[in-house]
């Protein structure tokens, strides 16, 4: 058996040579499919023995593939719903072609960690863009130049491109209305910090239950008070 990376978590068997290898990430090993290591999707953080890269694998764990394909489908649909990007554009943003994206969705191809991360970033970015720019979200995400577009930045591995999106929106005259900027002040220690520690597990949040009260607790009639007043005598107005 050849150890490929530490810590070992499971064994993968080479179907043709009958050799066993131990790999790093558990999710990568629980795949029920034939294919090369590229299709299985080794993590870039994982060191794979050179002769294992082109080896045909047989590994088990069908449920994980189904979960992954379901996640890819959910993320893809979220991107479409939020920003209206086409499948072609979504595929480009995660650095694959449209057929590979379909393969991820139907479970024929297992996405690499990098592709999956890019898709998650794209989904979050699409949602944020939709909140910020509404119907212009797609326009902002596509940018004006395919080479430097926000989608290309995500394909390159960027995880936060909000600054670039804001710049594009400002250039396009689509600045977000009522934007809020927040800055943390350096202060003395707030009083609640000590109290929160001292009260941990002892406090009791207020219940919603009210105390039944009579209507006159809320709507008071002051006519009796008014009746007790002696009206000051005023000089009568002389008619002219």
């Amino acid at each position: 058996m050849t150890t490929i990376a530490e810590p070992p978590t499971a064994s993968v068997y080479s179907a043709d040579a009958g050799r066993a290898f131990t790999l790093l990430a558990p999710t990568m090993l629980e795949v029920d499919a034939f294919g090369t290591s590229d299709h299985i999707g080794f993590s870039t953080s994982c060191t794979v023995a050179p002769d294992a890269r082109s080896t045909t694998w047989f590994v088990t764990g069908r449920a994980v593939v189904r979960a992954l394909s379901a996640e890819v489908e959910r993320l893809r649909d979220r991107v479409s719903a939020c920003a209206g990007l086409t499948r072609q554009e979504i595929a480009r943003a995660i650095g694959v072609d449209r057929r590979s994206l379909s393969g991820f969705v139907n479970g024929e191809i297992r996405p690499t960690e990098g592709r999956l991360l890019a898709l998650r970033v794209l989904a979050d970015t699409a949602e944020w863009s939709s909140e910020q720019y509404g119907e212009h979200a797609r326009e902002i995400l596509r940018g004006s130049d395919a080479q430097t577009s926000p989608l290309a930045l995500i394909a390159d591995g960027r995880t936060d491109i909000r600054r670039e999106l804001r710049a594009i929106a400002e250039q396009a005259g689509l600045t977000n209305e009522n934007r809020v900027t927040t800055q943390v002040r350096a202060t003395k220690e707030p009083l609640y910090v000590r109290a929160a520690t001292a009260w941990a597990g002892q406090g009791q949040l207020p219940t919603r239950q009210g105390v039944p009260r009579d209507d006159n607790e809320y709507e008071q009639d002051l006519s009796k008070a008014a009746a007790a007043v002696t009206s000051p005598e005023r000089p009568r107005r002389r008619s002219i």
Binding site: V184, R185, L191, A196, P206, G210, P212, R213, A225
Partner: protein
């Protein structure tokens, strides 16, 4: 007042005098000026861009704080009572009506509160006056037995409306005598300012009362007219409403 006489454990619904942890916020000017005593409260600065409305920016300072509930118990369940009474009138029994009203999340959930400011953050030369409750707008508090906060004042000059769902912790509540003092401090700050009753009563010694009036604008104020035409204005303290069911339907 000593801590033992001042505090009791907080439980049940929200009460005036509860001490709890909740977020607070206040509106500021663009220079974001922070008075020294609010340094611990103003933890975050926010600028809201209102250019789309053709207006200047809004500036808000916010933070999480130890606060005291200043709104009255009656106010906290006003809409709950209105809804409960409406349901009872529609034919439900009181228990069922109360249960349905409690589940209604749209009823007023807000309360008013003022933050606690430690005495050490106030002018050293005036701490004695703050501690004695002589400074209008501040209600003094001793440090509680669990030492969860130092000797402080409730800063009634900073008041904000908070959703009860934003409360994260609650531990202490004022005892009834301490709560009376809080009400006096609130009334004094909000409306009466200087109360010179002691001096006025001294001046009335030897005179007779010739008339009694109740102020129409405030049922709390009673005027005693003396034989030399001078007037003694008395303020009747707000009473604790009796919790009791509806007496008529």
């Amino acid at each position: 007042m000593e801590a033992e006489e001042c505090y009791q454990g907080a439980d049940g619904p929200l009460n005036q005098g509860d001490i709890l942890i909740a977020p607070v916020a206040r509106v500021s000017s663009p220079d974001l000026f922070v008075p020294d005593r609010w340094d611990r409260l103003d933890q975050t600065e926010h600028a809201v861009d209102r250019s789309a409305q053709g207006e200047s920016d809004l500036h808000v300072l916010s933070g999480r704080a130890l606060v005291m509930v200043t709104s009255h118990d009656c106010h906290h369940d006003k809409e709950w009572n209105t809804e409960r009474n409406r349901l009872i009138r529609s034919g439900l029994d009181p228990e069922e009506a109360a249960r349905i009203a409690e589940e209604n999340q749209t009823l007023d959930r807000t309360f008013q509160a003022s933050p606690l400011v430690p005495l050490e953050d106030l002018d050293p030369g005036s701490r004695g006056n703050y501690r004695a409750g002589r400074v209008v707008g501040f209600y003094p508090l001793p440090s509680p037995s669990d030492g969860s906060f130092p000797e402080s004042v409730v800063d009634l000059t900073y008041r904000c409306t908070i959703d009860r769902k934003a409360i994260t912790e609650r531990r202490w509540c004022l005892t009834p005598p301490a709560r009376d003092q809080l009400r006096y401090a609130i009334a004094r700050f909000d409306s009466f300012r200087t109360v010179e009753l002691a001096e006025s009563i001294e001046a009335a010694i030897g005179k007779s009362i010739t008339d009694v009036r109740v102020d129409t604008s405030s049922a709390l104020t009673l005027e005693l007219v003396l034989d030399d035409d001078s007037v003694l204005r008395l303020v009747q303290p707000p009473t604790e409403p009796d919790p009791g069911g509806r007496s008529r339907l």
